[in-house]
Subunit: 229 residues, 2 copies
DNA sequence: GATTCAATTATTGTCAACAATTGTTGTCGA
DNA sequence: TCGACAACAATTGTTGACAATAATTGAATC
């Protein structure tokens, strides 16, 4: 009994999440300008709080703050893109390695369930869900590996990856299909750390190799439509 | 011709750095309360900007923001401490591995020079410098490895490590002596990735094993003395 | 017609005052 | 003497207004 009342004031965290999601799910394209007042109107919050949130988003590399100009959704360069994947391999290979040693049956079940959901979204052609779940799979691995820190670091990297994909991915290639995720789960289940590490490496390399340096589409729809959900 | 004039207004970045350093170099102890107005006075800045800086520090885990209560220097639990070291091993092992493949003679020279400086501070009994340089060594490795992202992630982890040491390190054991750092440089110079990784692993494990779960000294001097340098 | 420069407008950066919250102190009663 | 309660003080949270800065428009000149 709090979620009604027309429109309650959103907390900083909620505003952050909304914008974060909108970017990570590629609803707001790279390069889009984010005006403070505009956001303040949308969330019925003061500019000061929006400002705080933007600062945080900038710290995660999702937006870029230009002094006296404002906030723009980041346009990662191809070098930054490769760096993101390097960092992801570093972290995620270690995570699956650890998972093989520590995961319990409940964890395995959660992974399987998740891949099933991914497969379903994929079959239904639900692209938005597919993208979201694909990122969530990697976050689930981090969560199960019980490293709070690496999980939070990876969270940022995954969202940046979405941004990179929005810019550089060839349009006909879908995200990562659920099959590679299934392979990862399989080797974790078998507790084969060597293989799990290799499969994860392959998976991330695969995504990276799909990058296309030419295309650079900009989406940029009206923010109001997206964020006021 | 700008550093005089009584006291120029410090930029946000500078304020952040000053506090960051004060914490990382263990001049401000864990648990110390950071009042906004107090800091505003010290830096002759408005509370709004201090607030912004505190938010950023909180995001890096250096301070903890309690709603309606204020900012406190974080007191990492022993579990968080172990997590930090796990994350550091993950990142730094990968960094030295890469360094073995990519470093040039100029980079090697910088590493050697740095270790020399460390050794000097160590011999002179200059504890403050020793602590600072010890952290800087790890940051130098990150910088030379040319991964912007891992470098910035490691930066946070190093500062958290300082905090952890301030809380849990047995008092007579010094930081990490320069010898282990020298060993790391040596194996990098030899481009022996296997060994470099092992030495780095050992080095971090060594530090972690020195942690003492009992002691929990709180320093907490007067902030004014520290930050107004 | 194109270019430079000035005036305008829109947007961000900064600040100081006000509101809300929390911790504390002092008082009253058992 | 101890505990509960109420007024107080100290600190954070929020807001709105104002100043500084950068983009834009329009006019004048070549």
């Amino acid at each position: 009994m709090d979620a009604e009342a027309g429109k309650r004031h959103a907390t900083d965290q909620e505003i952050y999440e909304k914008i974060w999601n909108a970017i990570a799910e590629r609803q707001i394209g790279p390069g889009t300008r984010l005006k403070e007042e505009q956001l303040a109107d949308i969330f019925t919050a003061s500019r000061a709080r929006i400002r705080q949130v933007l600062q945080n988003l900038a710290r995660d590399g999702l937006i870029t703050l230009v002094p006296n100009r404002g906030a723009f959704v980041s346009k990662p360069s191809i070098e930054e893109a490769r760096d993101v994947f390097f960092a992801r391999r570093t972290i995620e290979e270690r995570l699956v390695e650890r998972l093989c040693a520590t995961i319990g049956s409940a964890g395995i079940e959660r992974l399987r369930q998740h891949v099933d959901n991914e497969r379903k979204a994929h079959q239904d052609g639900d692209v938005a869900s597919a993208i979201r779940l694909s990122g969530a799979f990697h976050m689930l691995i981090a969560e199960l590996a019980q490293s709070q820190i690496l999980a939070s670091l990876l969270r940022d990297l995954v969202s940046r990856t979405s941004l990179i994909m929005a810019m550089y991915q060839q349009k006909d290639v879908l995200n990562c299909g659920p099959d590679e995720h299934a392979a990862i789960v399989e080797s974790i289940t078998a507790r084969d750390a060597r293989k799990a590490l290799a499969v994860m490496h392959h998976h991330l390399a695969h995504i990276e190799n799909q990058l296309d340096l030419e295309s650079e589409r900009v989406v940029s729809r009206d923010l109001e439509d997206i964020l006021s959900l």
